[in-house]
């Protein structure tokens, strides 16, 4: 397998699509009510140093992905064990996102179709994309991100007449605790999920560009998420939002431009599905790469189909229903994901600083 590389711009596009996909539709936990934007700002501020750590890892180990780093820092056995947990995490995350889509299609547009049918369609598409390689994912992400952002922008403009700005008052109505709790939620879902992007770092060519790529990705997608949440809040009001599974869908369905442009929520779902394909593809890619690294396979391509099918089946039986899914996403996930997103990367970072320094000293001595 020749080395595949993608440009920084493509990587940023993947980052953006990766982060906005499910939060576009699921909406966030609604503890903080109308101050959701404050908690999002906080979450972005928390995510920036973390993302810098991720980027620093790339600078320490250029051309390596997270699995190489784990093995290099923790040793061959322990590194592989930790790598297995990341394989699980990316597989699980991909399944969660697929399930979001499955529940969406089951609840709203295709109520009588078994959930597995649309999920399998998307899953197979992702398998195809991943087998084609990261270059294909990168190129399509770069093209599709423009489409998604454009569509969001148009919907934002169409929603302007529906905005009720008084919903913003009073600021911090539910107190700081609620805001902090929501900030933690938004930090773990979706901002810090970028840890999985480490799994494709070996395809990033330029040493120095990792900071720029990751930071611009986080800031742009954070901005987009704030705008989308604000739109939903201003259109629907903080009370209604808490009762909805898919607030964006409902907010978009309120759009009525002169009794002519109505019922556009169906087409707005395209943005969600588009971003979702990229996110699931990347999860699948990282999981397959991980398997290949742990078991010393020549190419990850031989396990893509199997992993993809496992992911689809996992997403079918992982939750009993949409209520369970929402409970997991907003209450359990932030605790569950914390080790993957913060603790292990921190240890990895500290460890790799030491390892890299020691190696440098060795070469200097030699």
């Amino acid at each position: 397998m020749s080395k595949e590389t993608i440009t920084g711009g493509q990587y940023t596009s993947i980052t953006i699509m990766f982060m906005i996909s499910s939060s576009l539709f699921m909406g966030g936990a609604g503890l903080s009510g109308n101050s959701i934007w404050v908690s999002l700002l906080l979450a972005i501020t928390m995510a920036v140093p973390l993302v810098c750590i991720y980027a620093r890892l790339h600078a320490l180990f250029p051309g390596k992905n997270i699995f190489d780093m784990l093995i290099a820092v923790f040793g061959k056995v322990a590194g592989r064990v930790v790598a297995c947990s990341y394989i699980w995490y990316s597989l699980h995350l991909g399944a969660l996102v697929l399930r979001n889509f499955g529940e969406f299609s089951k609840t709203v547009p295709l109520t009588a179709t078994p959930m597995i049918v649309p999920m399998l369609c998307i899953g197979l598409l992702c398998v195809w994309a991943v087998r084609a390689g990261i270059e294909v994912i990168g190129r399509s992400a770069k093209f599709l991100v423009l489409f998604v952002l454009f569509e969001l922008f148009i919907i934002q403009i169409f929603s302007l007449p529906l905005f009720e700005y008084h919903h913003l008052l009073p600021l911090l109505d539910n107190g700081w605790n609620a805001v902090l709790s929501d900030a933690m939620s938004s930090f773990s879902f979706p901002l810090a999920e970028t840890v999985l992007l480490l799994g494709a770092f070996h395809s990033l060519p330029d040493r120095a560009s990792a900071y720029r790529v990751m930071l611009s990705g986080v800031l742009i997608s954070g901005g987009v998420i704030i705008l989308v949440y604000l739109r939903n809040m201003l259109v629907l009001g903080p009370e209604i939002i808490t009762s909805l599974y898919f607030p964006s869908y409902v907010a978009t369905s309120r759009i009525n431009i002169g009794d002519f442009l109505t019922r556009i929520e169906g087409s707005s779902a395209i943005a969600f599905v588009t971003a979702l394909v990229i996110k699931v593809s990347l999860c699948l890619y990282v999981a397959s790469i991980g398997i290949a690294k742990v078991f010393n396979l020549k190419s990850y391509r031989s396990v893509v189909l199997q992993m993809g099918l496992i992911m689809v089946y996992l997403s079918v039986f992982i939750f009993k229903d949409i209520m369970g899914m929402q409970y997991f996403a907003f209450h359990i996930y932030k605790v569950y994901a914390f080790p993957f997103q913060v603790i292990i990367p921190m240890i990895l970072w500290i460890g790799s600083e030491i390892v890299v320094r020691r190696n440098k000293n060795k070469t200097a001595v030699a």
Binding site: V108, P170, I240, R254, N256
Partner: protein, 385 residues
């Protein structure tokens, strides 16, 4: 090997021809009964729910230009049960996306509360949240759907059309179901809905939307008349048009001001005797009717008309606010929400007892009416000798 591959490719293409060409559960339009509107009553015989739907009759011959309608009723325990059971009467599944109105009978709205009936409507995925909600002032809600409507053949669509043009009348609020639920859920805000009557013409009767049903929580507690509704809309900053009649010096209605635009600003003030709500309205109007020969003679009389209009507006807005406050104790104006937004600390103390606090509020109203034009003529019609 290549041939096997080619064969496989052809097979996949053939398979997708079958699989992709149709939707999973595709339904032809003529297998659906399209619902135009729905009325909710209580069956007097057994106290169960009585649902009446107006269906669009899609048959229509070549000569008929308008679609006909049909109404069917059925009783049952829950909304969804009835909706599904209706298939046993129509033979077709009901299609809800084009439904335009929900009419709830006054009896049901007063005694049972409306949450019981509208939850299904907002929860189900086949329905849409942008239907208009009404309360029937007649004995039942179904008799309104049974009416022969005047302009369009389908009563529900005519009602929806009335709501769209309500902004030129301002005699009733325009409430879509999501808006209604929004108000039910909000703290410090109560819901309202327009009333619908049967209006008797000489030989025929038609439906008429007029006045407001006032809710407290999800139960209807009272009504406002056509005129009161207009001033209620003024207080809510929901007025978009309509006519403001003004008396002359002797108290005879003489002038009509057409409302061009209105802006109402509401400000809560903390005073020693509790909270005072200051309401300021600024209304731009056009003078569109002068029913006397000396009503509008010069610039001065325009000022006088403005002043009389202001006084009347202030008086009437206060009247309707006091009526709602004292008789219904229901904060349909959303003053609670405004206090919540602008005086969050004070609101924390009164959140739980808002109904009580609301009845203690004091109000002042300041109105400004401006006559921007007098349409095509500059003065009253003069009577020559």
């Amino acid at each position: 090997m290549i041939q096997v591959k080619r064969l496989l490719q052809i097979l996949i293409v053939l398979f997708s021809l079958v699989a992709i060409s149709g939707c999973w559960n595709y339904v032809e339009v003529d297998d659906l009964s399209i619902v135009a509107g729905v009325a909710i009553d209580k069956n007097p015989a057994d106290g169960k729910l009585l649902l009446t739907v107006e269906l669009i009759d899609t048959k229509g011959g070549t000569k008929q230009t308008q679609a006909g309608y049909k109404t069917i009723s059925l009783t049952g325990d829950t909304m969804f049960e009835i909706v599904r059971n209706m298939i046993s009467m129509t033979g077709k599944k009901l299609f809800w996306s084009h439904a335009k109105v929900i009419i709830i009978s006054e009896e049901v709205a007063r005694s049972d509360g409306v949450i019981r009936f509208i939850d299904w409507y907002t929860r189900d995925t086949e329905t849409r949240a942008d239907v208009f909600i009404f309360v029937s002032k007649e004995k039942t809600a179904r008799e309104i759907l049974d009416l022969q409507s005047t302009m369009e053949s389908i009563t529900s669509f005519e009602l929806a059309q009335m709501m769209r043009d309500e902004k030129y009348v301002s005699s009733a609020p325009t409430v879509e179901i999501w808006d209604f639920i929004d108000k039910l859920e909000s703290r410090g805000k109560c819901a309202i809905a327009p009333l619908v009557y049967i209006h008797q013409n000489d030989t025929t009767s038609s439906e008429r939307v007029n006045g407001t049903a006032v809710f407290s929580k999800d139960r209807m507690v009272g009504t406002l008349s056509e005129e009161e509704s207009k001033y209620m809309l003024f207080a809510k900053n929901d007025i978009k048009g309509g006519v403001l009649p003004v008396n002359d010096e002797t108290g005879i209605p003489t002038f009509s001001l057409e409302i061009i635009s209105n802006e109402t600003k509401i400000k809560p003030l903390l005073t020693n005797e509790g909270i005072q709500i200051q309401i300021n309205t600024v209304t731009h109007t056009g003078l569109d009717e002068v029913m006397s020969s000396n009503g509008l003679s010069d610039f001065q009389s325009q000022k006088a008309i403005e002043q009389r209009a202001e006084e009347e507006l202030e008086k009437n807005i206060l009247k309707v606010i006091y009526k709602v406050q004292q008789e219904y104790r229901s904060d349909i104006f959303g003053f609670g929400e405004i206090i919540h937004e602008q005086l969050p600390k004070t609101w924390k103390e009164m959140d739980d007892t808002w109904e009580n606090e609301f009845s203690k509020l004091k109000f002042t109203v300041q109105s400004k009416v401006m006559i921007d034009n007098s349409a095509r003529t500059s003065r009253s019609i003069r009577i020559g000798d």
